[in-house]
């Protein structure tokens, strides 16, 4: 079984999001980036499948900046190959275009299963797994929690509201958007990542950008506070009195 895991980096929200006040544009160059946490889940699930039933795992990303560490980390965790899709791309690359780039690469390759994070914090025009599946015309499921692959049978789970779980079988090749891996993503020690970075090669594939239907973002801005929270001051007794008062006002007290 050959598994492709699609990775992307997203803005690191530990830093404030820099916005050009006048134009309302996000200043992409001023942000720092980290691997998307859902993609980490997808990678972990792929590695678990590899350990459970054998598979060859390829981590793939569209290079919009510093993608080497992300791919070397994937290799250090146990992925077999790292592929960097290069071109004139920057971090503002819309998902729709990103999905085309991924699909262009995946199309002629013979992957059985494509896993990616169900979403990312900066998805503006759709989620990667669904877009890629659509472009390739492959079966797709999203918000998936447990993927198992035996021979060429892929079985996974989806959870629904109301406490219902579905077990679903899909024929390969298929694209799956992973919500959570069975285990928390593993840690790759820095020594290992550094050693891998010295000893292994990433495959670089030149890709071109494609015109896609796009959205126009008018502006980004910080939300304007509507209601407000009440801060309850005073000592314990005063605070308790005020809380009781509020509960009574809202008819939430019994007895």
């Amino acid at each position: 079984m050959r598994i492709a895991v699609l990775l992307k980096s997203v803005p690191d929200l530990i830093e404030d999001i820099p916005i050009d006040e006048e134009s309302g544009e996000i200043l992409y160059d001023e942000m720092s980036y980290i691997p998307s946490e859902w993609d980490d889940q997808a990678l972990e699930e792929a590695l678990l499948i590899k350990e459970e039933s054998g598979a060859e795992v390829t981590a793939i990303t569209v290079d919009t900046g510093e993608s080497d560490t992300m791919l070397f980390t994937a290799l250090a965790k146990g992925a077999d190959h790292g592929v960097k899709l290069v071109g004139d791309f920057d971090p503002s690359l819309p998902n729709r275009q990103r999905a085309h780039i991924f699909s262009q690469y995946l199309g002629p390759q013979s992957f059985d299963l494509v896993l990616s994070g169900v979403q990312a914090i900066d998805d503006i025009d759709g989620q990667i797994p669904g877009l890629v599946a659509g472009i390739l015309g492959w079966p797709h499921a999203s918000v998936v929690t447990e993927v198992r692959a035996h021979d060429n049978r892929v079985i996974f789970r989806q959870e629904y509201a109301g406490g219902l779980v579905a077990e679903i079988k899909v024929s390969t090749p298929a694209v799956i958007g992973v919500q959570a891996a069975r285990k928390p993503p593993r840690y790759a020690s820095i020594a290992k990542v550094r050693q891998i970075a010295k000893s292994s090669q990433l495959e670089e594939v030149e890709m071109s950008i494609q015109e896609v239907p796009s959205l126009e973002i008018l502006r980004f801005y910080k939300p304007i506070a509507s209601g407000h929270a009440e801060m309850i001051d005073g000592d314990v007794d005063e605070a308790v009195d005020r809380i009781i008062e509020i509960l009574q006002e809202h008819n939430l007290m019994r007895g």
């Binding site: 530990i14 830093e15 593993r186 840690y187 020690s189 820095i190 020594a191 290992k192 550094r194 050693q195």
Partner: protein, 426 residues
């Protein structure tokens, strides 16, 4: 591995006396060879962990190991458990040692936990067996240059509140005498920042020509090294050495004893060799230039940080500063200087509090705070950035809020010299 058999002879004659019988084995090699020591062999085969095999079970270490006072722990016990087949790589024992170095001080066989722990932990980290909370600290450090997960762009933000100039090397563009390596907790933790402000004002009052790396600085990484992430340590050290090498300065002054240890022993091996002093050493040499204007009529006791005291032999500089404070009565706790207790933060302990809770009756910091109170101290003076938050939490959790203040020596000095208005949080 084949289990070694006790040697028992059907007929044993020693010096002409017949000693046949099951007890005659006492005349032959015994005890250690009766165990299947495969697990012990596996552990001592890890480079750095060899000395665990030297232990001859005298028990001296058990008497001094701080973790044994709140749990069931010591190198003797670790050796014994390993000998009985419990793999240290899989055991919670691996994460309880704070690398305080007290056992090494007394061990006749030089069983060296300071080497054993990082070596075996490194193996456990590689095998994916390290506690999650520790891995989070590692990930934060790798990503942000500090274990707390704070923005690397805000590393020098504290300096804005200092009220005095704190030059950042990248902007200063001229050589300085002292390169002050601030470290993470002094840069980000609210109480750490207060001590940094105090130290910045003291340096200014002394007209020291100094600068900091600001956002170019990353965690010195020594505790991550002791916690088993040598690769991370090397990455941080290479970065810091590269940044420091850009500038011209005469010596480094550090706030943090863990950074002191790194700059003294580890950075030189990686090409970063500069004279380094802990700030208490630097200030103790310049005591005569400080004029004290306020008295602190309090009973103060001092907690020797493991990495300043036992690891690096500096016990006097902090005491010279404390005894210079007008009004202060310095009392020593039973555990002081070489025999000092441990705050529990070293060797990765800072990031393992939830894990440790399951294996100990109380935190080391709580035990230490009780001792300070027993000695009638009003103030527990400290000089390692891990300690203010650890001991302040412990003061509260032991129900002693209001009875004991925890102060960095820099804070006490700055107050007494008239550079800050408060010297005690309570």
């Amino acid at each position: 591995m084949q289990k070694a058999k006790a040697i028992e002879l059907d007929v044993a004659v020693v010096d002409g006396v017949e000693l046949s019988g099951s007890w005659n084995r006492m005349f032959e090699p015994r005890a250690i060879s009766e165990y299947d020591i495969a697990v012990l062999d596996e552990t001592t085969a890890i480079p750095g962990a060899e000395s665990l095999g030297y232990c001859y079970q005298c028990g001296k270490c058990t008497a001094v190991c701080p973790v044994d006072t709140v749990g069931d722990y010591s190198p003797r016990k670790i050796f014994r458990r390993t000998q009985l087949g419990v793999s240290l790589v899989d055991s919670p024992d691996l994460w309880l040692c704070t690398t305080c170095r007290n056992c090494l001080r007394v061990c006749p066989k030089e069983v060296n936990m300071i080497q054993i722990m990082p070596a075996v932990r490194e193996r456990a980290v590689l095998d994916g067996k390290a506690p999650d909370e520790l891995l989070t600290a590692f990930e934060n450090t790798a990503r942000y240059g500090n274990p707390i997960g704070e923005s690397p762009r805000k590393r020098a933000e504290w300096a804005k509140t200092a009220g005095v100039m704190v030059p950042v090397m990248a902007q200063k563009k001229s050589p300085v005498d002292v390169l002050w390596f601030v470290e993470c907790y002094p840069a980000y933790h609210p109480r750490g920042k207060q001590a940094s402000v105090a130290l910045a004002r003291l340096l200014n009052a002394l007209n020291v020509d100094f600068g900091i790396l600001g956002n170019e600085e990353k965690c010195a990484g020594d505790s991550q090294r002791m916690a088993g992430e040598r690769g991370l340590f090397e990455m941080l050290a290479e970065h810091n050495i590269k940044m420091l090498s850009k500038y011209t300065f005469n010596h480094i002054v550090v706030t943090d004893p863990h950074a002191y240890n790194a700059f003294l022993h580890e950075y030189p091996k990686l090409g970063g060799d500069w004279p380094v002093q802990h700030y208490t050493q630097y200030l103790a040499e310049r005591l005569s230039a400080l004029s004290f204007v306020r008295s602190i009529p309090r009973r103060i006791t001092f907690h020797d940080p493991c990495y300043l005291g036992r690891h690096n032999g500096e016990y006097d500089a902090p005491r010279r500063l404390l005894t210079a404070l007008p009004g202060v009565e310095l009392v020593e706790m039973g555990h002081c200087r070489e025999t000092s207790y441990c705050c529990g933060g070293g060797g990765g302990g800072m990031w393992l509090d939830s894990f440790t809770r399951d294996y100990t009756s109380e935190r080391l910091s709580e035990k230490r705070v009780r001792e300070a109170i027993e000695y009638g101290a009003d103030i527990l003076a400290v000089t390692c950035p891990y300690e203010v938050p650890r001991f302040e939490d412990a003061v509260k959790s032991t129900g002693n809020a209001g009875k004991l203040a925890v102060m960095d020596i820099a804070e006490l000095l700055a107050y007494s010299v008239g550079l800050t208005d408060e010297y005690a949080a309570n």
